[in-house]
Amino acid sequence: MLNQFGSLGRAMLDRLAGIGRAGGVVWQSLVAKPTPVVMFPLLLKQIYFVGVLSLVIIIVSGLFIGMVLGLQGYTILVDYGSEQAVGQMVALSLVRELAPVVTALLFAGRAGSALTAEIGLMKATEQLSSLEMIGVDPLRRIVAPRLWAGFICMPVLAIIFAMVGIWGGALVSIEWLGIFEGSFWSNMQNSVDFSEDVLNGVIKAIVFGIVVTWIAVFQGYDCVPTSEGISQATTRTVVYSSLAVLALDFILTALMFGDL
């Protein structure tokens, strides 16, 4: 019995120490004298790897999710004779929920896992130690540009996801199902509020971007530098990020829309 309490305590202490280390990594990476001449090219490179290379998966997923929403929305709303409101439904679902959440999940799978594996492999091949011994802080050189790139790219990707999704919904609803174009767009325009819906969706995407990127780079930086350790860290990135995104989505939704 006492041993079980002991193990529980040790596990809790390990978790707390992990949170402390994760905080330390972000603090030491981001809080330092700005060096834009060095950082900007590194940031651009990471924006390309983290953001631009994620575009295809985001656009394709956004398109199909928008199309499915249009189709499902139509089949439900047509029973009540409200199929003209399908545009409103597609836009609100995407802007408030699906764009930030699905983008964050896809981002964790594509970019997050790649960040963890890359940093983990750099640790295993002593490239991080090598940087340290050259007198370059790996947190500033390797971790910081990746963190900023994730923070910047995630909201932009979510906005692109929402735009493509709405276009996919419009394609199905207007072109295939024959909903009147004017009512589709005007219903959407009347019901989607910029600060209530669009801004809140973007805030969610920013929060998810910070959390997913933070988890990804920390897991890479803190992993056991072996092939098994990197594999476990990559898995942890996807699992922890997905759970964190879904839990945070509930909390943020309750805070943003709970009183409606």
Binding site: Q28, T125, E126, Q127, S129, S130, E132, M133, I134, G135, V136, D137
Partner: protein
């Protein structure tokens, strides 16, 4: 009088203790690394030779004692001061640790670009000189994945000496190298040390190669220094532990078997179950 007492030391290690979890790596290590000489740290695998280099470089923190470089306690200075101190150090990692997204030229140029504001043409001259010194000027455009293990280590050596550091640490430079590459590395380390006059610390268990270039040797075992002296002094040391290591005897004070349990008891325990 031994060489490390007669010469001015650049690195001073006193009462160093270090553990990984429950396993104690160092109990009480005292060392003085003489300035401008080649000092070798030798010992059986798993004695913490690489760990000692990481402690000297400030990548690990000791549980007890201190490491001072030119009077500066490596583990008591600020992070910024530590990174400034590391500009005076070069380290050749066992794996080479080249940056895989950079070419050979960019790898060697990296420390110069980061720490100096020299114009590009001057950086080019320095890089080509360093690559010429290791015989790889012609490989400047290759990527690390295109290099053999020996070549990668020579590029890493060129990078380690790019800023003409005061101290160069070599982590197992001869391990996994063919005889020709070993010979090349031995010559390079000796020549570079003579030409640049820096302090070299070699961590190795390759006795022949290390003995041929070291001015002074520390022999580590069981968490402490068991012997130290010039290569000749160690060769004539009659202590069992020193003899076992220097002559490569399979069993002795450093046991062949990991566990000293009685084998018969171990086998019977299986049968009883």
């Amino acid at each position: 009088m031994s060489i490390n007492n007669s010469l001015e030391s650049i690195i001073d290690i006193r009462g160093l203790g270090f553990s990984r979890g429950a396993r104690q790596i160092f109990r009480h290590v005292d060392m003085k690394i003489p300035r401008g000489k080649i000092t070798a740290i030798m010992g059986p695998s798993g004695t913490g030779k690489t760990t000692l280099l990481k402690l000297i470089g400030g990548q690990l923190r000791p549980d007890a004692g201190y490491v001072k470089i030119d009077g500066l306690d490596v583990h008591r200075i600020s992070r910024q001061q530590l990174f400034t101190l590391r500009e005076r150090m070069g380290m050749l990692f066992q794996s080479g640790a080249l940056f895989t997204d950079m070419s050979v030229y960019e790898n060697v140029a990296f420390p110069i670009k980061v720490h100096t504001e020299l114009p590009e043409d001057m950086i080019r001259d320095i890089v080509l000189l360093k690559l010429q010194a290791v015989g790889l000027r012609g490989a400047r455009d290759l990527m690390p994945s295109e290099l053999s293990g020996g070549m990668a280590r020579r590029v890493a050596l060129a990078r380690a000496i790019a800023l003409d550091p005061d101290i160069v640490m070599y982590d197992e430079p001869f391990t996994g190298q063919d005889p020709i590459a070993k010979g090349v590395l031995v010559n390079l380390i000796r020549k570079i040390n003579q030409a640049l006059g820096h302090t070299s610390i070699i961590v190795s268990h390759d006795i022949q190669e290390t003995m041929s270039i070291a001015d002074y040797i520390y022999l580590l075992s069981d968490g402490q220094v068991i012997a130290s002296g010039t290569p000749q002094a160690l060769l004539s040391d009659k202590t069992d532990q020193v003899q076992q290591f220097m002559q490569g005897l399979p069993d002795g004070p450093v046991p062949f078997h990991f566990s000293d349990d009685d084998m018969l008891e171990d086998l019977c325990a299986q049968e009883k179950r």
